[in-house]
Amino acid sequence: MTGNPLWTLVDLLRRIDPVPDRVRVAGHAARLVAGGPALLRLVSEREPAPDSGLRTGRARRQWEFDGPSAGVTVQLTESRDGTWELVGLVSPSPAGITARTPVGASATVSDPLGWFRLAGVHPGPVSLVVHVPGADPVATPWLVV
């Protein structure tokens, strides 16, 4: 055997679970993806109660965000076809809602009461941008769904 086994082990630990290239590349690209609107504050995250009032099927998680110009409550739910949906309530309403991910974005407009639904959300990082007419857009922090 050659060399100090402690250094050999350090070398082994560096080789055994290195940062995947795609993780490094995603980190490099984050600056181009993340910027923009001011941040809403995460107020709470929890498992939704069955009677939480949002019109969902199988809700998995519920977040509440708040800011000076807007507030939004959103649930992550599983659709019948197995994809994810974001179903929520935004205030004030109506407002435009954009779900942005590192690979693209989808947008909708809430109904007059503030309800919105965004289907076909892919697992991974997502941030919601809220566009209230007459105000600067605001965004939720990035979260893994």
């Binding site: 055997m1 100090n4 086994p5 402690l6 050999t8 082990l9 350090v10 082994l12 630990l13 560096r14 080789r15 055994i16 679970d17 290195p18 940062v19 995947p20 795609r22 993780v23 490094r24 995603a26 980190g27 490099h28 984050a30 600056r31 181009l32 993806v33 993340a34 910027g35 941040l39 995250e45 498992e47 998995r60 998680r61 590192p102 697992p123 991974g124 990082p125 941030s127 965004a139 922090p141 990035w142 979260l143 893994v144």
Partner: protein
């Protein structure tokens, strides 16, 4: 309070300032500098590679959002550790609430992981067996120090829920335990130090 900074801290201040000014190369170097640390913290929460990758990506996205407001660049490693740890814990908790995978849908062919590829070397495999016998906390601590030796005790304390003053003694105990196990396995050259094991 001293305003003396090490060259490493000066370099970090420059990188952050350049990245805030929009220098993409500075941002890339910032990511490369701490990618190992962020990855190690995510993996410490026993996330699979896909979830760990998502957590790392969210950490970098949040940093990109918050970088212009970062007042003290020296606090960046601590911020990265805390943010990654919180998001990893959140994802891990969420995954535990999800229904278990239907085993009938799991492909029967075993998939070769990175460890399998690395451990084909007999000596590496012997070292790995020794390392795997360490307490879990020691494994994570030593792995994090191996990945990024510049990680400060304060940041390690945040990552491991320890008091900063406890990190040094824990590290010493882990290294002592490792030396003992290496000696026991005949992997240490020279005489075995008395009382090294356990």
């Amino acid at each position: 309070m001293s305003d003396r900074r090490t060259s490493s801290e000066d370099d970090l201040h420059r990188l952050v300032a350049d990245a805030v000014r929009g220098d993409h190369d500075a941002w890339r170097r910032l990511v490369d500098r701490y990618a190992g640390l962020v990855w190690a913290v995510a993996r410490r929460h026993r996330l699979d590679a896909a979830d760990a990758a998502d957590v790392c990506q969210v950490t970098w996205l949040r940093l990109a959002q918050r970088l212009p407001a970062l007042r003290d660049p020296a606090r960046l490693p601590a911020w990265l550790v805390t943010t990654t740890r919180r998001e990893a814990a959140r994802v891990r908790a969420a995954r535990h609430r999800e229904p278990p995978v239907d085993l009938d849908l799991v492909p029967p062919t075993p998939v070769e992981g990175p460890e399998d590829r690395v451990l084909r070397d007999e000596h590496d495999a012997a070292l790995w067996r020794v390392f795997s016998r360490l307490p879990e906390r020691c494994q994570h601590l030593l792995r994090m120090l191996a990945v990024d030796p510049r990680t400060s005790y304060a940041d390690l304390a945040r990552a491991f829920d320890l008091r900063p003053s406890s990190v040094g003694p824990v590290r010493t105990r882990c290294l002592r335990a490792l030396r003992g196990l290496l000696a026991e396995a005949g992997l240490l050259p020279g005489p075995v130090p008395s009382g090294a094991a356990r």
